[in-house]
């Protein structure tokens, strides 16, 4: 058998390490995962520092140099209003990143908690709430977002909360399904037989096991949310002019695609590198968590 029993000698060196340290240890063996992580971090760094390091003012218009091809002065050329595409692409993800990161954080938090609770309690409450969840999920998400924006306006806070709400609903399903894997398990049964409170069972027994699934699901959802938010901007509901934003840049420049393709390519490259980065990372992350201490694989 390939499952080997660890011998005494090997074990004495095993120290308990933090969750982060152990995950990192298995993550760094994955080339794809590291590429993903580097892409994500570069995007974050860029979003933070870009206002101070940009070569050109992204808002400065120039009627003389409209739709110019790439040159030494404008690496990606200029757009319809003569603004530097490179600087605008670098800056165009700031609002998107802030909104999606806050929203995904909130979504995982509330969706995860509700999902675990429903999975644990079960019964009629679970039945009723899940039917409501199904009903909400049956509405096309874009329509739902547009509806909320139509009623409440394009306020960024409103949009963030709306995203957090819709993606939280998706998370409920995942968290509930993951909880179902453990809730009939004997260690939960053991805790119930001891007479542990529901709160202890949820936080101490279930959460540590469901946590990994939630993290990976959150990372995947983050990339979906980026696309969704960019789509909103593309339709004119996201970030408002004159601030640069990837979605709106694509929308504004698509008419001149044949003359100045870089005005579209710039934001597209930025968006796709981020999304590819997130996906690579999420994949490796899932593997790192799956092969970890709960399996006892000798790394």
């Amino acid at each position: 058998m390939t499952t080997t029993t660890p011998t005494e000698g090997q074990l004495t060196t095993v120290k308990r390490r933090s969750f982060v340290a152990e995950t990192w240890d298995s993550l760094r063996h994955s080339v794809a995962g590291m590429i993903g992580l580097i892409l994500i971090i570069s995007h974050l760094l860029l979003a933070i520092t870009s206002p101070y390091i940009l070569p050109q003012d992204p808002l400065e218009m120039n009627a003389q140099s409209r739709n110019e091809a790439p040159s030494a002065e404008h690496i990606f050329g200029t757009d319809e209003l003569g603004r530097d595409v490179f600087s605008r692409s670098m800056l165009g993800g700031r609002v998107t990143l802030v909104v999606t990161i806050v929203a995904i954080g909130l979504a995982v938090l509330w969706g995860g908690l509700v999902g675990i609770l429903l999975g644990f309690i079960g019964g009629r409450a679970d039945e009723i709430i899940m039917r409501i969840v199904d009903a909400i999920l049956s509405i096309p998400w874009l329509l739902l977002l547009l509806l909320v924006i139509a009623i409440l306006g394009t306020n960024m806070l409103v949009q963030t909360l709306t995203f957090a709400f819709t993606y939280g609903i998706l998370t409920i399903r995942v968290a509930r399904a993951a909880t179902h894997d453990y809730v009939t398990g004997e260690f939960v049964l053991a805790a119930r037989a001891r007479g542990e409170s529901r709160r202890t069972i949820v936080t101490r027994e279930l959460l540590p096991n469901v946590r990994d699934v939630l993290f990976v699901d959150g990372a995947m959802n983050w990339s979906w949310m980026l696309l969704a938010f960019t789509s909103l901007s593309f339709l004119g509901f996201g970030v408002q002019p004159p601030d640069p934003d990837w979605g709106r840049m694509i929308a504004e420049s698509r008419d001149v695609l044949a003359i100045q393709p870089w005005a579209v390519f710039g934001p597209v490259i930025m968006l796709s590198t981020l999304i590819i980065g997130i996906n690579l990372f999420a994949d490796a992350f899932a593997k790192a968590l799956g092969l970890d201490r709960s399996q006892g694989a000798p790394v």
Binding site: M1, T4, T7, V14, H29, E186, G195
Partner: protein, 682 residues
């Protein structure tokens, strides 16, 4: 015979870890199997038995590599064949029967179609005749009503029936050899005895050779002509079955045989400390650290598998001569020890007329007023005294676990009372005060499932401490954790480990430590040793016995293993379909008169002795629900009298002079005493 059917020579298999170090799984394994011969492979888990079985089929687990040696079957090199040639051999000449028959069958295909598929794939039988052959095969594996059964889906069959279907499929092409990997593990004793009987007959009839892999010495003794004993990826002894069980020459064989509880012996068997190392990590003999015969040479020089002069017996040990002259039978008797403990007079738990049901009628059923099905557990009345060990015995579906979970408060009782001091335990755990739930702790069968994989050992033991002793501060709790670990014979180094870093026996000790952290009065043990190797099982039983003596703890002990009951329990309750059949002390239960069901169970037990044959009294037909009236055992009873058994609930009767021994049967006591001579001679 000049040419053996199977010739494995110097087979070495291993895999590389992520860091690039080579880990051996098998080392220089050499074996021969003659046509029509059954070779049993035994050893603790992790010794490479399954890997060898798979290599026999020309299969390597992904990541594993053939590092040397060869497997020859009818003079074909199994690892030199092309995938096409292998396909030709598998199923036609060698067939595999896996452990879990339920998983080996396709859930969406009818049984008949699956077997027909195997027939068409592996034989030249024309299409029209395949169905006929399929029905013949089902008959051959002794399944009743083949025509009806062929139309069923796998989930509609019991575990034993599924295993028979898998055997039928393997026999489709009348292969020359069968590889069986723990085919009866997980089946009830009676079912297991029936399936083994079937395999023996078929093999004798068709002249098929078998490689039979099992961790169960009783099973191996029953089926094998010859036994190969594996340790740390090597064959350490290879001998005819009688010699292996009567005069084993390897200390490991002795250790294993000594640690098996036996039906004829009371007292806990001697345990063998330690566990197998990773193959090839020790310079000398792999078994040396656990060996009572070991000397300096064992630590430096690896022994070689050599024949004992004038015998068909190979052994890999430096001291086999010394081992052979030590009288085995005498040692065996010495190895059983009873831990004395005092049993109080006052009751710890009293069950009276307990009834438990899983049936929850839906709205529609309630409206239509459908009569309730018979309850899962009914009419259970028994008393467990302070410091006593009561064993609940029965096949799967007998309601053992249901009763224990009700006592633990995981299921409410539907009727009756469970008296625990002044408190009635019929309510669920949510309605019990903490002081009551503290007194009753539960240990599960599988420590892999009952320990949270995300918690360290310290956190696992800390939980009951935090819950039941809220006044203890962090340091006091830490002290207590160490103390508890020491009591289950683990050092405090284990505190920071995760369950995945522990062996099976160590995990179960942690689970025991967690239960005893509450300082309970009653501990409910649900098949606590069934998932463990025999060597470890003995150690765990020994530990439980010591803890009981120290604390005067009461145990309610569930097991399907009657030899373990004999070793460990004070009193026994035999259950069938959630109803009590027999109740008495261990000595009373293990001697006639028996309830016909107890008699059936006793008869089916396999002892690690090739000369002992099980007595198969009743069929192993499963029953899904108890009969609505009469005796619960009426449908399978070998001693059924007539209508009275079907219509009237049997009375409790006691044999003369044994007031506490109660048997629930219509047969008059004289007949119960007379009829059972056949079994008791065993």
């Amino acid at each position: 015979m000049s040419q053996s059917l199977v010739d494995i020579s110097d087979l070495t298999i291993g895999y590389y870890t992520q860091k690039g170090t080579l880990v051996h799984v098998l080392r220089n394994v050499s074996l021969k199997i003659e046509a029509g011969e059954t070779l049993g492979l035994v050893g603790e888990s992790g010794c490479g038995k399954s890997t060898l079985g798979q290599a026999m089929m020309g299969y390597l687990r992904s990541g594993s590599q053939l590092l040397g040696g060869s497997v020859r079957f009818s003079d074909l090199d199994m690892f030199g064949l092309t995938p096409r040639q292998l396909e030709e051999i598998r199923g036609k000449q060698i067939a595999l029967i896996p452990q879990n028959a339920g998983e080996a069958l396709t859930p969406t295909l009818r049984i008949g179609n699956q077997i027909v598929e195997a027939i068409e794939l592996h034989t030249d039988i024309p299409k029209g005749k395949a169905k006929e052959r399929m029905l013949a095969l089902l008959g051959q594996v002794r399944l009743p009503q083949p025509e009806v059964l062929a139309e069923r889906y796998p989930h509609e069959l019991s575990g034993g029936q599924q295993q028979r279907v898998v055997v039928a499929m393997a026999l489709a092409a009348e292969p020359e050899m069968l590889v069986l990997d723990e085919p009866t593990t997980g089946l009830d004793v009676t079912t297991q005895a029936h399936v083994l009987d079937l395999l023996r007959d078929i093999v004798a009839e068709m002249g098929t050779a078998m490689m039979y892999i099992s961790h169960d010495m009783g099973v191996i003794a029953r089926v094998s002509d010859r036994v190969g004993l594996m340790y740390a990826g090597e064959i350490v002894e290879d001998a005819p079955a009688t010699e292996m069980f009567r005069s084993p020459a390897h200390p490991y064989a002795r250790g294993l045989l000594e640690s098996i509880p036996r039906l004829s012996m009371s007292g806990v068997a001697k345990s063998m400390p330690g566990h197998p190392p990773i193959p090839g990590t020790l310079p000398g003999c792999s078994f040396a650290p656990r060996c009572p015969f070991a000397t300096d040479i064992c630590n430096t020089e690896p022994p070689i598998l050599n024949p004992i002069p004038d015998r068909q017996h190979l052994v890999s040990c430096h001291h086999w001569e010394e081992v052979l002259v030590t009288n085995f039978d005498e040692k065996l008797n010495e190895s059983f020890q009873t831990v004395e403990h005092t049993i109080g007079d006052e009751p710890a738990i009293e069950l009276s007329d307990v009834e438990i049901s899983y049936y929850r009628p839906g709205v529609i059923d309630r409206l239509r007023n459908i009569p309730h099905p018979p309850t899962t557990v009914s009419d259970v009345t028994l008393t467990v005294r302070r410091g006593e060990t009561l064993a609940l015995v029965g096949e799967s579906g007998s309601g053992k676990t249901t009763i224990v979970r009700t006592i633990a408060g995981l299921l409410p009782a539907k009727g009756g009372h469970i008296k625990f001091g002044d408190f009635d335990l019929r309510v669920g755990v949510d309605d019990r005060p903490t002081q009551i739930s503290k007194q009753i702790q539960l240990i599960f069968q599988n420590p892999d499932a009952s320990l949270n994989p995300r918690h360290t050992v310290a956190e696992i033991i800390d939980q009951p401490l935090k819950l039941y002793f809220p006044k203890m501060n962090r340091d006091e709790r830490r002290e207590r954790q160490v103390e508890l670990l020491n009591r289950v014979r683990l050092s405090d180094k284990y505190r920071l480990r995760y369950p995945a870093q522990l062996s099976g026996g160590e995990k179960q000790r942690v689970a025991i430590a967690r239960a005893f952290a509450a300082d309970p009065r009653v501990v409910l043990c649900d098949e606590v040793t069934s998932a463990l190797d025999v060597s470890v099982q003995a150690a765990v039983l020994d530990l439980l016995a010591d803890l009981q003596k120290e604390r005067n703890t009461t145990y309610i002990f569930i097991t399907h293993d009657l030899a373990v009951v004999r070793a460990f329990a004070d009193r026994v309750a035999v259950l069938y379909q959630g109803r009590l059949c027999e109740l008495g002390t261990v000595d009373e239960i293990y001697q006639p008169p028996y309830h016909p069901y107890t008699e059936t169970l006793m008869g089916a037990v396999l002892e690690p002795d090739p000369d002992m044959e099980p007595v198969l009294l009743a069929s192993d037909t499963p029953e899904l629900a108890p009969p609505s009236q009469g005796c619960p055992f009426q449908r399978r009873c070998p001693r059924i009298i007539g209508d009275i058994c079907v219509e009237e609930a049997p009375p409790w009767q006691s044999p003369p002079g044994e007031m506490d021994h109660k048997i629930r049967c219509h047969l008059p006591m004289d007949e119960l005493l007379n009829v059972q001579e056949a079994t008791s001679s065993k």
